[in-house]
Symmetry: C2
DNA sequence: TACCTTTGTATCGCAAACGATATAAATAAA
DNA sequence: TTTATTTATATCGTTTGCGATACAAAGGTA
């Protein structure tokens, strides 16, 4: 038996499981807004900074553009964003929020708190969370 | 601007990004074995305990059976596992390793070390990793 | 100008991942 | 025993996610 191959010894599996369960935890709240979890991430990026090229959105989310493009196409069909060719650089596609997309920010502002309330852990306190964030941030920087 | 909606303040996004980047880190090594990352997880479960019903595999991986079934069908097509109806309970499908699947464990034993070597972080030490594991484990227990 | 390379998006194909639903076997209830 | 319910898998449709590839715009270079 190879101890290093035990599921319980894997960081990768914990991240994989935690990530999917976290996505599921957001599901019911995002369903009320009519969006999915990756779409929610795109919206957060745009609420923070509107009118960005596809490339910048993808980089921010650590995704490939061939993942983001169809995602944005679906969001455009739903009337959340519009996509326009860049004026200076005709290769770029600038993604901007519609009025509907901007309005959604108000409703969405409650979501993080609602999810957090279902996620009370003894090990996730104002003391320990910054440490966890820093560790994950370093891991992400190292892997990308 | 809603501070709680900033991407940088989200645990969910860090887990999402870290999980995908981790999967990508395994990619090249698993490609040599001819399997994908979720398939690798299934193999780890079976190396630990062979001949399990689909349901147990799914529970162990925190996945739905409708995700695991097609995964196993692809693995069966590749000759890594075989699926047989249970004798006592005809509803169950028992998944077992083939000789090829068992042999793969030897080659795979190097994978965790190879990935770890590309993942050296100042915040991921023998001291801090148990703490991180415990936090993620509690989070997973809370969310499931 | 003509040609080559780089850059930014998009298209295609495949493997997850999951909700909704279907199906058959096992179990409980009548 | 017949009927109803639960349980274990499987099927279907949609959304992600990514590698490989295509393609057009932009930027060199000769």
């Amino acid at each position: 038996m190879h101890e290093e191959l035990r599921l319980e010894n894997q960081l990768c599996f914990r991240l994989y499981a935690a990530s999917r369960l976290m996505t599921q935890a957001y599901g019911p709240f995002l369903a009320k807004l009519g969006i999915t979890y990756p779409q929610y991430l795109v919206m957060m990026v745009l609420w923070e900074q509107d009118a960005q090229p596809v490339n910048d959105l993808a980089k921010r989310l650590h995704l490939e553009t061939n993942t983001v493009t169809p995602l944005l196409q679906r969001m455009e069909k739903q009337g959340l964003v519009i996509r326009k060719r860049g004026k200076e650089d005709g290769r770029q596609v600038i993604v901007s929020l519609t009025a509907k997309g901007r309005q959604m920010e108000e409703t969405a502002a409650d979501v993080p708190r609602e999810v957090a309330s279902r996620m009370v852990c003894s090990r996730l306190t104002p003391d320990t969370v910054p440490e966890l964030f820093a560790t994950l941030d370093e891991l992400i920087r190292t892997l990308e």
